[in-house]
């Protein structure tokens, strides 16, 4: 693995970690959904780094195919998450789910 690829891979893992931290740390649902997308982007960057085979070598197409599929899945998940988040806001008046669970 070249140094460039390694750099991308490390940045990808760091992005993943930052996303995971934000997902746990921030209560606002929109932040959580964004955090989840940052985690996804980090993962995709790791895949892109893996596809790199050396500076003058052809790239490996398989990780790219996985990233494209992964993006489709991530878009669907984000769509559902946004729809649910707006339902939570509409029903409870709060854009968060960590509040008191007093209602029936």
């Amino acid at each position: 693995m070249t140094e460039t690829a390694l750099l991308y891979m490390v940045v990808g893992v760091v992005l993943f970690g930052m996303g995971l931290f934000a997902l746990v740390a921030y209560p606002h649902l929109l932040r959580k959904i964004l955090a989840m997308n940052v985690m996804g982007t980090g993962t995709f960057m790791v895949f892109i780094a893996i596809a790199h085979n050396g500076d003058n070598q052809p790239i490996d197409p398989i990780p790219h195919a996985l990233v494209i599929t992964g993006i489709v899945v991530a878009v669907c998940s984000t769509g559902l998450a946004l729809a649910l988040a707006s339902q939570v806001q509409a029903l409870t008046g709060q854009p968060r789910i960590d509040g008191s669970e007093r209602e029936e």
Binding site: M9, V13, F16, G19, L20, L23, L29, K32, M36, M39, G40, G42, T43, V46, F47, I50, P61, I62, P63, A65, L66, T69, G70, V73, C76, S77, L80, A81, L84, A85, Q87, V88, L91, T92, I97, E101, E103, E104
Partner: protein, 489 residues
């Protein structure tokens, strides 16, 4: 058979997906489409099983692409058992949902059927996936339809529970996907059968094992990552609770089984399998104690799921150490027994809620007189959860105990027996009041539709009958691909 095995493999995936789309486009006919396609799916699963028994394990290169770019479907005994479990519980849930979502509730009916068929299709696809990336995709499809179904009742508690379920599930699948990246970086393959030959002890495998196992623990609700499960399973509509608890949480565990047996096995001697087993013990004790404390019936049943999932992990170290067929047989028997019993328990909870509108266990006094069939249903399901003979739960626990004793793991024997006693405690907490006579005049219970009462009862009978079918299940599990038998591990 009429078709080749590979055609049946494609059919059990395509049928539910096609039916789901049709039901979505024709909401007025959703019920008819749901009932017809469920029948066809069950028949295809049976046909697939028969052709697997006749012709052995099969691999299908969809569209003729082949691994690594194409999607290979793989069917062996374990897949067949999972598909049959899904078909049996799925058929009962289909019949139950016919009565549960009445025609006047057009909105829920129009969305339940497509989502449930999508969920069924993604479960079938997951059980037939042969590579770790396709498992990710099917797991996501499963998660999305499961979350949407959880939110279907539309109450604030349910929507919040669905939101939490989605976020935890997505974090879990992202971890799993990063694990896939490390596996590919380290060993250059995604196909499980290929990986089995390629994997070696090393940093990529450690990273992948940690990420994938923790991710799947989140999705599979293994203690202490189970916190999202009780609100999601308890607040969903009864047929949805049943399929979430009986089937959906089994999918991540199934992936975990496949991974540890065929990809992560070089790590068998590390602490990881022991840690999973210890978390299983904690899940059994914590889940059962929480179940004993719940005032509401559905929450009690949901915490019972947290506990019962623990049993699946107890023998992971033994599964990797030796005598795999027996250990796998014990674990899979438990999964199947729990699926039937837990679905029956949630459906009976739905019947009680439908009849009386009250799920406080304290108000169950005299229910045996008002709802004899439903109380019997829960009693039979409870028999299997407590693992009294001759239920499916009894045979499964017997096999687990047998393996634990064979390995000299006496502490597992203690935990399994303690878990049974605790289960007896929470089952009796529900059944006890139903036998007592009511001092005031009997409540005016609404009649439970026959499709709901009978489908729940049918499942509870299956939970008992499974006790006599252990041999067939083990025979079916013995169908293994040829390449897997020569590999190491």
């Amino acid at each position: 058979m009429i078709f080749d095995t590979t055609v049946w493999m494609s059919l059990v995936i395509l049928l539910p997906l096609a039916a789901a789309i049709t039901a979505f486009l024709l909401p007025r006919h959703a019920l008819a489409i749901g009932l017809t396609s469920s029948g066809l799916i069950v028949l295809s699963v049976i046909a697939l099983t028969i052709s697997l028994v006749d012709g052995g394990a099969a691999r299908d290169q969809m569209g003729g692409w082949g691994a690594p770019l194409g999607i290979d479907l793989v069917a062996d005994g374990l897949s067949a058992v999972m598909l049959l479990m899904t078909a049996a519980v799925g058929l009962a849930i289909t019949i139950y949902a016919k009565g549960y979502f009445p025609a006047r509730d057009a909105h829920k009916r129009a969305f339940f059927w497509p989502l449930w068929l999508f969920l069924w299709g993604s479960l079938n696809a997951l059980f037939l996936s042969g590579d770790i990336f396709n498992l990710f995709v099917t797991l996501e499809l499963l998660g999305l339809s499961a979350v949407a179904l959880t939110a279907l009742v539309g109450k604030p508690t349910a929507v919040r529970a669905a939101m939490r379920y989605l976020l935890v599930g997505l974090a879990g699948s992202m971890m799993y996907l990063l694990g896939v990246a490390f596996v590919y970086a380290g060993y250059g393959a995604l196909d499980i059968a290929q990986l089995r030959m390629l994997v070696a002890d090393g940093p990529p495998l450690y990273a992948a094992a940690t990420l994938m196992t923790v991710g799947l623990m989140m999705k599979g609700a293994l203690f202490p990552l189970h916190f999202w499960l009780p609100p999601a399973h308890a607040n969903a509509a009864a047929p949805v609770s049943a399929l979430l608890s009986a089937l959906v949480v089994k999918a991540p565990f199934y992936i975990m089984l496949r991974l540890w047996m065929d990809v992560l096995y070089p790590l068998a001697d590390t602490a990881a399998p022991q840690v999973l087993s210890a978390l299983g013990i904690a899940a059994i004790l914590w889940g059962s104690i929480q179940a004993l404390r719940q005032p509401k019936f559905k929450l009690l049943v949901a915490y019972s799921t947290v506990a019962q999932l623990g049993y699946l992990f107890l023998l992971i170290p033994a599964l990797l150490a030796d005598s795999r067929p027996q250990v796998l047989g014990a674990i899979v028997s438990f999964m199947v027994a729990h699926a039937a019993a837990k679905a029956a328990a949630f459906l009976s909870a739905g019947n009680i809620l439908h009849a009386t509108g009250d799920e406080q266990i304290a108000s169950f006094t005299g229910l045996l007189r008002t709802l004899p069939l439903t109380v019997t249903t829960f009693a039979l399901a409870g028999l299997s959860l407590v693992a009294l003979p001759p239920s499916g739960g009894f045979i499964a626990k017997w096999l687990l105990l047998d393996r634990a004793l064979a390995n000299g793991d006496w502490w597992l024997v203690v935990v399994i027996i303690a878990g049974g006693l605790l289960a007896a405690g929470y089952v009796m907490r529900v059944l006890g009041p139903t036998f007592r006579e009511r001092e005031t005049k009997p409540t005016n219970a609404r009649a439970v539709p026959r499709s709901m009462a009978l489908s729940a009862f049918g499942l509870s009978v299956l939970a008992i009958i499974l006790g006599f079918m252990g041999v067939y299940l083990l025979d079916l599990l013995a169908i293994e691909p040829v390449s897997m038998m020569v590999g190491g591990g």
